[in-house]
Symmetry: C2
Subunit: 583 residues, 2 copies
Amino acid sequence: MYRTHTCGELRLSHVKKTVTLSGWVQRIRKLGGMTFVDLRDRYGITQVIANGANNAQLQEQLNSLGREYVLQVQGTVVERESKNAHNPTGEIEIEAHEIHILNKAELPPFTIEDDTDGGEELRMKYRYLDIRRNPIRQNLELRHRMAQSIRQYLDKQGFLEVETPVLIGSTPEGARDFVVPSRVWNGQFYALPQSPQLFKQLLMVGGIDKYFQIVKCFRDEDLRADRQPEFTQIDCEMSFVEQKDVIAMFEGLAKFIFKQAKDVEFSGDFPQMTYADAMKYYGCDKPDIRFDMKLQDLTAAFKGKGFSVFDSAQHIGAIVAQGCSDYSRKELDELTEWVKRPQIGAKGLVYVKYNSDHTVKSSIDKFYTAEELHAIAAQCGAKSGDLLLVLSGNTDATLNALCELRLEMGKRLGLRPKDTFAPLWVVDFPLFEWDEAEQRLYAKHHPFTSPKPEDIHLLDSKAHNVRANAYDFVVNGSEIGGGSIRIFDSALQAKMFSLLGFTPEQAEAQFGFLMGAFKYGAPPHGGLAFGFDRFVSILSGCDSIRDVIAFPKNNAAKDLMAECPTRISQAQLQELGISITEA
Amino acid sequence: MYRTHTCGELRLSHVKKTVTLSGWVQRIRKLGGMTFVDLRDRYGITQVIANGANNAQLQEQLNSLGREYVLQVQGTVVERESKNAHNPTGEIEIEAHEIHILNKAELPPFTIEDDTDGGEELRMKYRYLDIRRNPIRQNLELRHRMAQSIRQYLDKQGFLEVETPVLIGSTPEGARDFVVPSRVWNGQFYALPQSPQLFKQLLMVGGIDKYFQIVKCFRDEDLRADRQPEFTQIDCEMSFVEQKDVIAMFEGLAKFIFKQAKDVEFSGDFPQMTYADAMKYYGCDKPDIRFDMKLQDLTAAFKGKGFSVFDSAQHIGAIVAQGCSDYSRKELDELTEWVKRPQIGAKGLVYVKYNSDHTVKSSIDKFYTAEELHAIAAQCGAKSGDLLLVLSGNTDATLNALCELRLEMGKRLGLRPKDTFAPLWVVDFPLFEWDEAEQRLYAKHHPFTSPKPEDIHLLDSKAHNVRANAYDFVVNGSEIGGGSIRIFDSALQAKMFSLLGFTPEQAEAQFGFLMGAFKYGAPPHGGLAFGFDRFVSILSGCDSIRDVIAFPKNNAAKDLMAECPTRISQAQLQELGISITEA
């Protein structure tokens, strides 16, 4: 037996017991003839004390030890003289009788400490060492705990966990599909699912009633910060439900997760906000409502005073940064540079300082009287000591830039603490997006999303005004989940496909088996999917989802440890019936 | 709200309540002016009774109803006059006030009944309808229940559920790998994992200590009955363990599953059998021990009496079919044909009838006296009334044919009831297999399996005699799981690779990152994986794993419903940088 206890387990109550521990050497110190070894495993660290003075073999072993050596230690639990209150095992130590080196270790390429000296690339290449560090291990433990809680809740609510296929059919629209050549059927391909959408709807047609799955999905998309080619969804679907039923069910799930994983409780329902309000007040469809600082529409107030930049702008918007009227010239210049970065894309930044002495100072003093600027303060609730930051330009770009500026100011003002969670439902999404370049409608959510019944009469005349029974779940400005009530009527679904520019033949080729299924009695149904990686990262306070994935790929979709993707052999290509096209 | 209750929920205690149900029409009967509708959902069937006599609109709807229509019914719960004891809701019925047709249904291509008239191909094409049938739905429910039990047990035992990547590197030996061309890195490929073996070992190096995952694995292999290109494993690994620790842990898991899913309890430990005994007594490494009928080695007893078939045979073996001495000529002829089928491959079948009147009758009377045949009966425990069935030939082929004959006779004699479960650990597997054709050793389990320490000295001299710390979990003659203690010492692992014919360069290319990891302090570790599909099918009493998979592929690796694999567009191929090789 390699161990009687773990390295996190022993307490004063174990004193005088003979125990065996196994683990890694975290630290070695010598003091006189004594050697102190901190022995580490997943569960904790226990101090081992060894005296090699009268035991040459033991002493030799002690002298040979290095960091990350794997040891088995037999000894007696004794009470420590100088206790360590920061360590749960800090009241005891092990007086070693015998030490057995189970495995040696080369010096790791970075330190196995909470704050390591390894950069991300090095940590990824040696991910198995990175995982030994508390922060990464704790993320994986949190992820485990959340996964178990999710299943516990959904099982109790009558959901069935059903596995849907990973090898599915590719669809002509699936430009971001990973495909898999078949060896058995040369020239033919499977695709990896971007989501189990069709299959979960078929499960509803099949009467499964309540389905969930924590499932890998795949997207071969252009590289964007903090996306992974494979990612995990908490995928759910229910029959005989309306939007409010789905929201109630998964609000319950979210509350259960917060409670189980972080001991955070919420009183009352999560707030709901329409898409229109989210865009108006926050400039985006996933507002961070940990702090207020709503966007102010000052278009009317600022226009017509001779300032040509504003006069020619489609939209003039602002935020009020409370208590920031003392920003220095340098700070304002830096902020101006910040909004002009290509990611933000503003042309410039106008400020108005409402000083504590009730004077006003702005970059556009020339065009606006103090009275006019005070009137604007009154309109947007700015007080003495506040700073008004104003952007202008075309509406979409300005709202977007204001959204980013708001988030940035929130961060700078400490209004976005990682341990505060502000969940929000965003509802009443538009059913379509209009693509100006291609002059056609796209489904905002996906082609199976149901329009609001009261808006169906607008489908032919004002499709862009039709709202969907679609909802997103947002926490701290991140979209954690989204879903919709689905169309379950063949005729309405055919109408949707036609509005989206599919010919009946194209619709049949892509979605034929779903349309076929709908002929045999489809129930009303709807659902939701959470992005599990993002959900864990929000709860763990990590900035990147890579920190909550055991073996992530980097932003170039490469696994630096396993070194993939790679070339494969000519023989393998031949068997698959494919060849590499020279570019 | 679509429903207040499910179709499986209402009882006498609900009488007089106004309720709303939603579900599918299972059956419609008319009796006088009354219409009886059996309304079905996942939870059960409730009888609805409607009187359209004084309600033209209702009558019209009732007249239009067909099987599998989706209805919403509002009505009052009333006590039934003629109760149906076979149905949990059979004491009540719903007097309908209002019926709302939520969706119509075409006539299904097969009946939605426990015993359907649909063949497997049709059922697969319309799998969403097949899932509505009780037997399939119950299998999916069992699968769900087992998955939850597995997680509950392993979570309690301190295992962490960790997701390993699906897009991994291909290895030169991975001839059965599915590969995935990268769009971002043209000419390079990911592979889909045949198992998470390397990653789970890396998690042990990373100090995760106890890992599990219920995970999809993939194998692009030649088509065999009842295999799927994607299948699900319960994959587990533990650190600081020996074989007995692993077996104890997963025997506990198996017992928990049997109890939770089937209410079956086992007293005492599961039996263990060495690989050598399994081959000797059952002719295979996965014995069905629901019944005895062990193989008898009669080589010595039968040889040297002038029967040339036996005299020239390497091995003569037999089984005793109890109480079968009255088999007719026709039955014996049929059995002889059965063993001569190519799948069994015997040249012929010799029988000895030990008749109830103590006479002996055999197909080889000419060569053996009654005394000699009685002596053989004594040797193998045959009694009056029993039938001895004898096969001969080369040892491996004969043992294999006897194994099949034993299973067949067990089936014919009703000794293999589906609701009896006989679990078994097969241990002490050989480390290597010798490939006669290629004149080289192969790893019986995989190259990371640890030899038994007491056999290590044989590695150079008698490698084929080296036993492994490997074990299989067998239930009712099916291998449900298997695993091993792994090598955790770089030098021994290098030795293994060399014995398996890898050059150091090949070993480095294939397993470099595992070998690299082992340099930084690998703990002793071992584990096991269960085949989840097979495990569910054994517990459900299904013959095929297809019946316990929601959307299986057929034996030609095709999904008949989603119609994949398929050709993909030229544009897609171009983006991926590959082309189809014309065969």
